[in-house]
Symmetry: C2
């Protein structure tokens, strides 16, 4: 038997898993206000429209919709058109459909990176990115990410210059999980340029960009990629529904055969039924109608969260001020241990994710990730009120 | 960039991929009689019932059916009950739901086997099993499988005795793909005993056992596993519908946390919508009603295929006589090269899978795999008629 996360310390792994176990148990407890989730707002999932799409597909396509199938061409075409509107010119044959963004990351890490090789990731990042690098035995070089400006690209270049040369880097360009920050257009162009200059494939993990509260999202890093060194990973989980379990990879067309072989070895293919239903959803032009209310609700919820943080933690904590996405990151004074505090918070019926869950080294003990998307404003206010009581009583009072 | 199939020769890989490409192109050509597929009969997919299950679930469970979710407990419970009826006593918490059997294989190979370690597989087997062993850089020891009696367990024991000790072995107990053969109850007990005695985890890949033409399937190898050394992998693809993309692993409960971490790193989770719809299908007791007509149709089609082989190839070829599943394996005289013949067969509008696709070394050039499940009897007769003309004209005439 092998340790599945060989390059993380056992202690940090143990802590992270205990957080996960607690959070899973909490998820089903309605008395807890959970700011810990990463779920899109349940009230805005397109329940009736998607049920109707499934019915249309099963009546129209019959048994084909329940069989094995090649990737569903109309969905590839919609995604290619969507990427084109975002400044990435690709043909449908360059779109590789996956089970969400995590499978895109898993496939690309298998394609590009062997155990023992070098990978560059952010010091504070989504655990799924840690799993496909450190979790597969890669040597991980970490770069800092600034709350105001995102990933430190000077550090990225320094990591690219080291020998042995990294085999891949992974960045989250928009509404970073957990930090909430986005990269400027200038930094996107620079990141693509660094990948080209140093010959290091760059994976852009982008599940959140369509969740901008207003306006159009910036072009992705892939839009600046003239050297075909950027692999874009998208997802429908946060903008349509997690249970469709669909996302996509945009890479060089020459890589499609290898990507196909890896994907078949993992789970053969994505459900053609769900692919067809999502394509039908887009054919009905339901996407814009669906997305705007979701963005509006997210904005209201984020504003509520920021106002509550201001009310209770002004002068005590710092936090990100995202313009989209699902998360706010808050940093407390060094002496506050958000992991140690977690059981007290749960006693008071409020939950968050302790910062250490987003690190490989157990740092960020004074930080927390707060989700605003799947809670009504009143619950957000109440949750932050409870949190401020817990922190006031147990953490900063010297008790 | 890394070769994704390092221990296969490039030539065999190239040949196998060219077969795959041809077969994909053929799959959409209605003028071809394809005996190459592995699809369940389209006419017997439970189209109306499953559409109704999806509708029930979406109306009953609402947004929960489109969200992220833990594994769906009612489906785990149904599977635990099913396994119990087959002689495997497990609790629902020991059932780990996957995206089909292939993901079960991929997860278990990540759990048990590192690149460079030893794995035991059958010389002639499903390419998905080759991918999770040789395709991940394992050193592969191969054992023969007999058309009449299945995997050679003396060879298995010999492989288990070698040093370094193998880290896993994979067998297909029922209606082997591509050979069609099943293991006797005695050999199942023996296989479980060998895994226990030599301490080698044995993966039992069992997508086909419910496709016995008549009677009850034998207990799986897992039913004889007193040492918790057998990992059972099941699938709903062939017995319900491929597009549900669901299967399961039964392993030791102590392994569930590691299995969960690996699975999350690959694609987080299976669609809760599809899990709920399949659970609803079983709650309606629709399974038995669905399965019997499918088995009856498969038996008729297999009998048709065997009769056509008898008519055209008696004395010339040998073939398996399965009592269930989807496939018949036919071996021609050594001088017949079924790979070289493939383009001629396609010209004559008939397709099969050349035997070399099921090997790592490009052997079995004189064999073919024939599918009977997704063709009507008349098409099967016509397909074998065409095949006999191709073989008569081009292969055995010395031309």
């Amino acid at each position: 038997m092998h340790d599945v996360m060989p390059s993380m310390s056992r202690e940090v792994n143990h802590l992270k898993r205990s957080v996960l176990r607690d959070l899973l148990a909490l998820a089903v407890d309605p008395t807890i206000i959970s700011l810990a989730g990463g779920l899109p707002a349940s009230e805005f999932l397109p329940l009736d429209e998607f049920r109707s799409c499934l019915e249309t597909v099963l009546r129209r396509d019959g048994a084909e919709a329940l069989q094995y199938s090649t990737q569903h061409a109309p969905l590839q075409e919609w995604i290619a058109g969507y990427m084109g509107r975002r400044g990435v010119r690709v043909g449908p044959e360059q779109v590789f459909i996956t089970n969400g963004a995590q499978q895109g990351l898993a496939i690309l890490s298998r394609l590009l990176l062997d155990p023992g090789e070098q990978a560059v990731i952010e010091q504070v990042t989504f655990p799924g990115i840690q799993q496909v690098t450190a979790g597969r035995g890669a040597q991980v070089r970490q770069i800092p990410t600034h709350l105001e400006s995102g990933a430190d690209l000077e550090a990225l270049e320094a990591a690219f210059r080291q020998e042995p040369r990294p085999r891949l880097a992974i960045l989250v360009p928009d509404f970073h999980n957990p930090l909430g920050v986005s990269l400027s257009a200038e930094k996107r162009a620079l990141a693509a340029g660094l990948a080209a200059r140093y010959g290091v494939p760059l994976i852009e993990d982008d599940p959140y960009s369509e969740l901008a509260f207003s306006g159009q999202p910036l072009p992705p890093i892939k839009a600046y990629d003239e050297a075909e060194m950027v692999f874009y990973v998208g997802s429908f989980s946060k903008i349509l529904a997690p249970a469709v379990r669909l996302g996509w990879i945009i890479g060089p067309a020459s890589m499609t055969p290898q990507i196909t072989v890896i994907r078949e070895s993992l789970d053969l293919e994505s459900s053609t039924l769900l692919q067809r239903a999502v394509a039908e959803f887009f054919a009905r032009d339901a996407f814009g109608r669906h997305l705007q209310p979701l963005r509006d609700a997210n904005r209201e919820r984020c504003e509520t969260l920021l106002a509550a943080l201001e009310e209770h933690f002004s002068g005590l904590a710092q936090w990100s001020r995202p313009s989209g996405g699902l998360f706010v990151w808050a940093r407390f004074p060094q002496e506050l241990d958000t992991f140690a505090l977690f059981p007290r918070a749960v006693e008071r019926r409020v939950a968050y994710i302790p910062g250490l869950a987003f690190t490989l080294d157990g740092s960020q003990r004074n930080a927390i990730r707060l989700n605003f998307s799947n809670l009504r404003p009143q619950a957000i206010r109440e949750g932050i009120q409870r949190l401020s009581e817990v922190i006031g009583e147990h953490a900063l009072s010297g008790a």
